[in-house]
Amino acid sequence: MPNDPRPRRTLWTALLCVLLCGCSSLPTVQPWERGQLARWDMQWQPDPLEAAMTEQVFFSKEGTHGKLGAAGGGCGCN
């Protein structure tokens, strides 16, 4: 039974709006105001090894996956 396409259309539209909004001007944060952004705990992924392991588990045990980065190969996990 195909799923109702409306929710996915709404989500993709919302994402497109977010992307387009990002191209509009934002208040400039000067380099000397960015100390907090440079902290270790403000990285997208502060602990890459732990992230890799959880990613592997979710990849093996859940029906979908996705990330903002190059994907690797699969595994025979079942």
Partner: protein
């Protein structure tokens, strides 16, 4: 295993004159790290940002030229509940992860990741309707499965601390019955001081040689190929908040069925059969917010996935990074995941099915909650980390009906410990 990341940078060359010329020697190593983290977030002119960073917020090993990381983890699935034929005990996995990172001059960073996973236990095989029609019987794989998986990933980043940079990766993994090779490329490109564009491509070739194929009537050899592309934008929103949004497309072709699973169809037990093509689209948003007064930061991640097997999923994860003094950190996190079922999934089929049929619990409608707690402590150039995770999935947490619920849904506990160490 999925690998390759754009934002893993954590090092600036030790002899960077721009830092040493303007700060005291005692703060220079920490500032180098800040530069690197700033570059990873797409922050240009990061030396000024680094000067204003709070002390004690860096990773202990990061200011060193060579970094070594290690994690040991134990993954233990709960015994299956309900009516079971075969062993109710499921997978137990011990995993070792090593990572060696080294700067190659000032213009490149090389890293090598090695992972070994030792697996044992039973796996859901197929589902039978109970005679009294009041339930399902989960049949487990006949013998305990034992396998070892080894993986090697090499990554090279050029200009790792610059706002615009390239990342190249290659990986190979090997199991008794499965081999995989993959290549990846990523690019981060600064569009403005506030905005960074990211994009990349990857390709993977997987070869499958199922164990005991002839005895069990399984396919003897199969392969599949995966092509993936992503694009993202990262914004500096305020002096304490950053946002990233993007999309990823993954196209898989080849043998996408599970050679070890069977399905009950109209009184027969037949092989799991899925389409030989799958296109998956994912939209992701990540938000990071620093709360300097609390010495903490908030991480919020959301992901929506839609594929042409009629599976849609939502994932949301919330994490809190709390510094406790200069050397301790506590990181609790909570994650929720839910998905709809594939259109060819059912626990069993009482009538003849179409071309495709699967009773794999991973294709059913369900939801899952997981919580994780990580504690870290620094000792000079060392940082030790211990953590625990609990994951619980159920059809009751998801959008599906109880009648199509999969009895094999997995719940597990995981413990891990390790260290990060840096030296010159």
């Amino acid at each position: 295993m999925r690998r390759g990341r754009l934002m893993s940078g954590s090092k600036v060359p030790n002899d960077s004159p721009s830092i040493d010329a303007c700060v005291s020697p005692s703060r220079a190593p920490a500032l180098r790290l800040m530069l690197s983290a700033a570059a990873a977030l797409g922050i240009q002119d990061a030396s000024l940002a680094a000067e204003t960073a709070e002390p004690g917020q860096d990773a202990a090993s990061a200011q060193r030229e060579t970094r070594l990381h290690y994690r040991y983890s134990e993954y233990d699935e709960d015994a299956i509940a309900g009516q079971v034929i075969g062993s109710a005990e499921r997978y137990f996995v011990r995993a070792h992860q090593f990572q060696l990172e080294r700067d190659v001059g000032e213009q490149a960073r090389f890293s090598l990741n090695a992972t070994q996973e030792i697996m044992s236990g039973s796996s859901p095989w197929y589902v039978l309707p109970a005679n009294n029609s009041a339930g399902l019987i989960q049949v487990m794989s006949g013998a305990t499965i034992r396998d070892t998986r080894r993986e090697l990933v090499a990554t090279l980043v050029d200009n790792p601390d610059a706002p615009s940079r390239n990342t190249y990766s290659a990986s190979a993994s090997d199991e008794d019955d499965y081999r995989s090779l993959s290549l990846g490329y990523e690019r981060a490109h600064a569009l403005s001081p506030q905005l960074t564009l990211g994009y990349g491509l990857s390709y993977a070739d997987d070869q499958i040689d199922p164990s005991d194929a002839v005895e069990n009537g399984r396919i003897e050899h199969a392969d599949k190929q995966s092509r993936s592309a992503f694009a993202s934008l990262s914004w500096v929103l305020t002096r304490s908040a950053v946002l990233q949004a993007g999309v990823q497309l993954t196209d898989q072709r080849g043998f996408l069925s599970d050679p070890y699973k069977l399905v009950y169809v109209d009184g027969d037990i037949i092989a799991d059969a899925r389409p030989d093509q799958r296109l998956q689209s994912a939209a992701l948003i990540r938000y990071r917010h620093a709360l300097s007064k609390l010495d903490a930061s908030l991480h919020l991640d959301y992901r929506f996935v839609d594929d042409d097997w009629s599976i849609q999923s939502h994932m949301i994860e919330l994490a809190w990074y709390q510094s406790l003094g200069r050397d301790w950190r506590l990181v609790p996190s909570l994650r929720y995941y839910r998905q709809q079922a594939a259109d060819f999934y059912a626990p069993f089929f009482l009538d003849p099915a179409g071309d495709y049929a699967s009773s794999d619990y991973r294709l059913s409608a369900y939801g899952a909650w997981s919580g994780r707690l990580n504690l870290r402590k620094r000792f000079g150039a060392w940082e030790f980390s211990v953590g625990a995770e609990r994951y619980r999935s159920s059809s009751a947490y998801g959008p599906g009906s109880e009648q199509r619920a999969a009895p094999g849904l997995v719940s597990y506990s995981r413990l891990y410990a390790g260290f990060d160490y840096g030296f010159d």
